[in-house]
Symmetry: C2
Subunit: 339 residues, 2 copies
Amino acid sequence: MTEVKLTRAQIVDLAQRALMASGAEREAAAQVAEATAAAEWSGMPSHGLLYVPVYCEHLRVGKINAAARPTVDRPKPALLTADADSGFAHPAIDAGFRQLVPLARETGIAALAVRNSYNCGLLGHHVDRLARDNLLAIGFTNAPASIAPHGGNRPVVGTNPIAVSVPDMAGGVAVSIDQSASVIAKSEVLKHAREGREIPLGWALDPDGKPTRDAAAALKGSMAPSGGHKGFGLGLIVELFAAAASGAVLSRDASPFSGPDGGPPRTGQFFIALDADAASSGAFAEKVGQLVEAIETQPGAHVPGARKAAARTAADAQGTVSVNPALHEQVARLADAAS
Amino acid sequence: MTEVKLTRAQIVDLAQRALMASGAEREAAAQVAEATAAAEWSGMPSHGLLYVPVYCEHLRVGKINAAARPTVDRPKPALLTADADSGFAHPAIDAGFRQLVPLARETGIAALAVRNSYNCGLLGHHVDRLARDNLLAIGFTNAPASIAPHGGNRPVVGTNPIAVSVPDMAGGVAVSIDQSASVIAKSEVLKHAREGREIPLGWALDPDGKPTRDAAAALKGSMAPSGGHKGFGLGLIVELFAAAASGAVLSRDASPFSGPDGGPPRTGQFFIALDADAASSGAFAEKVGQLVEAIETQPGAHVPGARKAAARTAADAQGTVSVNPALHEQVARLADAAS
């Protein structure tokens, strides 16, 4: 097939039309389409258009509530909660952020707990928004259980990423950390299983909790936590904020993020936004600059988020990114289907 | 030597007298002595009386400012800052917590940034205090640089622990996570170097950034991050809060926590306290109970903090803990010295 190159606006348009043809409302579809384009633009196609057919299927079978009406409350002066009403996470997060940003500036620190939401895509995408508003931000999100506690064999937490985005205090992002609690993304194991290939030892465990090279056995077992018990500990920290403290469904009770079954996963997200300039009496930007320099002056070392930033710079210069032709055709068919 | 068994009050008294004989003021010495006893009582002797001779030395050479006057400010409604004035971290943290606890209950979430403080000992000790006040708490603290970024060889962040303590909402601690960014504590490498023993591959890197079994080379090189680049990422998250956002000295610029040289390290801590009951609309305690049960019902698996809790229960039942006789004699000599 011929190479397909798309502008950012073309990706947004394509994704939005596909989602709307599957029942999504205009505004929710626009927000998910923007996040999709941002992932493609940042060199993360695993979280770009590749997810659109899954979203479309989940809209059609009701795993995503297409008619969701997210609500935002403020139970305490510096604490916001959002209920995504079993719909996309993006509109609930967006509605919450509109209040979180001015609130965190006013109170110094503020939080947004999101419950009953669907897979939020790249967590870093959301916290980067807060950093562009000059706030130091942490984000947590849970996912269907895939990691067992050290010494056990039944998954309790998901690959549960943590993301921290660091403002350069001039409207940009200086550092963007976004890492899951597992050694490797579950999608990699799925890919190996589909292709009938072995996985490297250390990625996953079989149903008895033993290391395995068999991708199919791994999918029935659990993902290996990054750094052993410390990876599970980090996944548990994320679970405590994204699920327990937000009132969302625990990872072990959430329906899968793939496949048509189980109804809405109703997982959660938790965001904390800090006025780091006020906390540090104005020292923050200079200290971040020193940290970035201490890393970047080492040959071979990179500041977390640097690869994504470089991909965005390259895409901006080119005006387009390459998209897998078969995937493009699949999403275009979805976009052109009658809703 | 005969076995030495001490009550909790005896450990507090011993440590407090040793610190005061080295110049510490009564209240600061009492707080550090309480933390010392708590570590012994929790089965963590590595952070108990073993540190008292180091503290005494550092008081005498001025790495700890014995006359420190910690101050607490509130630059924004939900944000507290404390300056430890180059003294012990404990009095600054304590003064900050007196305001942080009622503030977090009122605003839903609040933070305390501590700068210019010394090694805070077990980070979990501090966040556990917040959990006993029914708050879900995160703590970060930085330490002299010992971990290099992935691909580099110059340390940028310390073993920088993160701690999360989870209230059972009845005045107790349900889960207590306290983990460093490195594979192993630096004190283990120091111990192997002193004893002339090899360290296992995977613990540390030599000055060229290559894995090493040579403990002395490791001390000139860097500690291996837990889970590779993800361990460095976690250490960097901690650094961003504990040092950059608190206005403390960066890990790469901090004087060592051992040895007489370099003056006060002036590192930092950052604490976030959340009313998780309000954030979850009352669901938090039940969800935490479900998470704990999902872990504890797996043979061989333990909730983080369970070993420390079991040690405390055993110590309470016995009324005493065993202390290394040579260490006891050393601290007793310090306690009985004229100040």
